[in-house]
Amino acid sequence: MRWLQHRNLWLGAMLAAVFVAAALISFLWTPFDVTKLNIPEKLQTPSMEHWFGTDHFGRDIFSMIMVGARTSIAVALVAVSIGIVAGVPLGLAAAARHDSPLDEIIMRSNDLVFAFPALLIAIMITAIFGPSAINAIIAIGIFNIPVFARLSRAAALGLWTREFILAARVAGKSASRISVEHILPNMLNLLIVQGTIQFSLGILAEAGLSYVGLGAQPPIPSWGRMLAESQTMITFAPHLALFPGFAIVFTVLGLNLFGDGLRDYFDPKISRGRH
């Protein structure tokens, strides 16, 4: 069991799994209904009944964290998928036509998107089209495109000089077929590692957008908005901020460790060199 030797990998995987599990379970069951307000029971501290206490509307914070995990994961997952689906083909095309005008156009447009502060543009998009989870996904997704485009171009450029690719070219395969059949499979591990890291960044971005009120709208619970709403109550009801705060920290930490671990796992050379 080689993967057991990678401490980061399983630690990260376990942390992330907790939240993925919480999100999945929340579809079937939560201790309390998060859309139902129960004002008389507001601001209760953690107890046997409400494990994480209740918020200012008397909602069960544990249940909200569970459903909030769903929001975070869904937004980040779709956003990363947008990045991969749009970014990887762009990167592959740029590498296949290396140094051509196409390469220039693709990479310079990437630079353009990269040059903007991501969160600022996300705020702009949601300000124009209105705040919603969908618009948050689009905003975060757009900024994942250049990440994957660059990564896949760099990886593909290296692969294009390899002998097996040369063999495929001699065999008369077209550039696009080579990209799909030979290059893509050989850079999958890189994409998975980057995808994991972008996924954790996506969760952070979603929390940030929700915090400023531009993410998922009430009554859908979201960790970022839970943090924002608890702000004025932090001096007398700190549990309102602590639990969503921890949820964000541990999910992002878990995913980052998992991504690091995956990289070590796929590429033992780097791992030995680093430690």
Binding site: I39, K42, H56, P131, Q217, F236
Partner: protein
């Protein structure tokens, strides 16, 4: 070495002595920044909260208890038929730019406010005025088309302050009035500073300088108070912090009344809200106590109509719309909407709206009304809801005094059109006698309550927080104002 010590000691003595003398400056925290500083040209409450009674004065003014007192008019007389008001003006009054104040300024101000192209937000205040004439420099005669006992009250509003033709052009950015404070500077996005007017006609202010600081974030407001960056927050935006501030000996928390009827406004022309049964269902679906508890942490008085509970003519009509979800469902079924319907709830930034909105959305969901919440900034809200009337439901506090007249305006954003009420408001204008006015007002309250025009939630409490050493701030808010004339620091 010893010289340095002496210097240090001297500096300490100086520091102590200056600290023990009573302060003569104050920083007032406000949640919203005014869009401009001309109270006669726009509706924003924040304008009056800076300039009313500080920079600008009217012929009459509101006192802290809501009563009307003479201001630039020292007295007035009403003709037998109630159609002519003759105001005697104070003499020796000058504007901050040195120009003198006389009857011509009054004629200019009132004519400008009621002109066809006037942008005055409360033109209704001047509706019954036929003509304004200066008979001599110290006398103005206002002729009405019909008797209106409320004229002195109307003229006390911030929208009716006296401006000078010489300086009106710049009123939006550098207002020139006759008040006890002179406009000093406005750092946009941050603060407005005013200083004492040494040539004030009345009793001069005790403060030398006052700064209005605009802090929109409740968290930042709390931090600013705690750090002493702000000395007072007349309308503190986060009610959840009040018990904590009250327990702190450095602050005093004063709970007063405001003219803010906080309502769930309903777009009366938008289907299905054009059906009274649906509006009634909404009213019965709302649990006021949960909203006051959940959104305002208990601060607020339930209301059943659009009228302030501290007013003598108030009728408690909350009985018309008790919390009764069963009844609400039955009413929806009767209206042919047994399966419920979908609508929008557009919320401006204040926490009463944002939090109240979440609670109301949950309560309406219980009876089958699916509400899509969208949170708007004030500019968007004014654009979409107030002017555009593109909404189903919204929550807002109407902070103008005695504003039941807005229900007689079918163009107003809730688009309520009822001839009977419109007639009542015309009658009210023509009535001078207090008892008769009360009766009309009570009829009007009953009509809008029984027509379920809007969801009536609660009267906004004035949650004032101030440094415990400050005296003279208004306890209640009979109008939108932060009158600093009588404010001083105790030693």
């Amino acid at each position: 070495m010893s010289t340095a010590n002496h210097l240090l000691a001297a500096a300490l003595v100086l520091a102590c002595s200056s600290a023990s003398a009573a302060r003569t400056d104050i920083t007032i925290g406000m949640q919203l920044e005014p869009p401009n500083l001309d109270p006669t040209g726009a509706a924003a409450a924040a304008i009056d909260e800076v300039v009313y009674a500080n920079i600008f004065e009217g012929l009459t003014r509101f006192l802290p208890d809501g009563s009307v007192a003479p201001a630039l008019a020292s007295s007035w007389e009403v003709s037998e038929d109630g159609l002519q008001y003759s105001f005697t003006l104070r003499t020796g009054v000058s504007f901050h730019d040195g120009t003198g104040f006389d009857a011509d300024d009054v004629v200019f101000s009132l004519d400008r406010a009621r002109a066809e192209d006037s942008t005055n937000a409360q033109k209704g205040l001047f509706a019954g005025i036929d003509s304004v004439e200066a008979t001599d420099p110290a006398t103005v005669v206002v002729t009405l088309s019909q008797a209106n006992g409320a004229l002195p009250f109307n003229l006390a509003w911030g929208d009716a302050v006296i401006v000078a033709p010489e300086s009106i052009e710049q009123a939006k950015t550098a207002p020139v009035g006759t008040g006890p404070f002179v406009f000093s500077k406005w750092v946009q996005g941050d603060q407005v500073e005013i200083v004492r007017n040494p040539d004030y006609w009345g009793e001069p202010a005790q403060l030398e300088k006052a700064t209005f600081k605009f802090i929109s974030e409740p968290t930042a407001a709390f931090a600013a108070l705690m750090a002493g960056d702000v000395d007072a927050f007349p309308v503190y935006p986060a009610p959840e912090n009040l018990p904590q501030l009250d327990a702190d000996p450095r602050f005093s928390v004063v709970l007063g009344s405001t003219e803010g009827e906080t309502i769930l406004s309903i777009n009366n022309k938008l289907a299905p809200f054009d059906n009274k049964l649906v509006r009634q269902a909404v009213a019965h679906a709302i649990d006021r106590s949960a909203i006051i508890d959940g959104a305002m942490f208990g601060y607020g008085t339930p209301i059943g109509s659009h009228f302030a509970p501290h007013h003598p003519a108030y009728l408690d009509l909350t009985g018309n719309s008790p919390y009764d979800p069963e009844r609400a469902r039955a009413l929806l079924a009767e209206a042919g909407l047994a399966d419920g319907f979908e609508t929008t709830l557009k919320l401006p930034p204040p926490s009463y709206a944002r939090r109240g909105g979440e609670i109301i959305a949950a309560q309406l969901r219980e009876v089958g009304i699916k509400v899509e919440i969208s949170n708007l900034e004030w500019a968007q809200w004014l654009e979409q809801v107030f002017r555009g009337k593109d909404y189903g439901l919204t929550i807002v506090s109407h902070t103008e005094p005695m504003d039941i007249g807005i229900y007689a305006n079918p163009e107003y954003y809730f688009q309520y059109d009822n001839a009977e009420l419109q007639q009542l408001m015309v009658d009210l204008e023509a009535t001078a006698e207090d008892d008769a006015r009360s009766e009309i007002l009570q009829q009007a309250q009953t009509i809008i309550s029984e027509d379920y025009v809007n969801g009536y939630l609660f009267q906004l409490a004035k949650t004032g927080v101030a440094n415990a050493k400050i005296s003279g701030l208004w306890e209640n808010a009979p109008t939108q104002a932060n009158d600093l004339t009588k404010v001083f620091w105790q030693d």
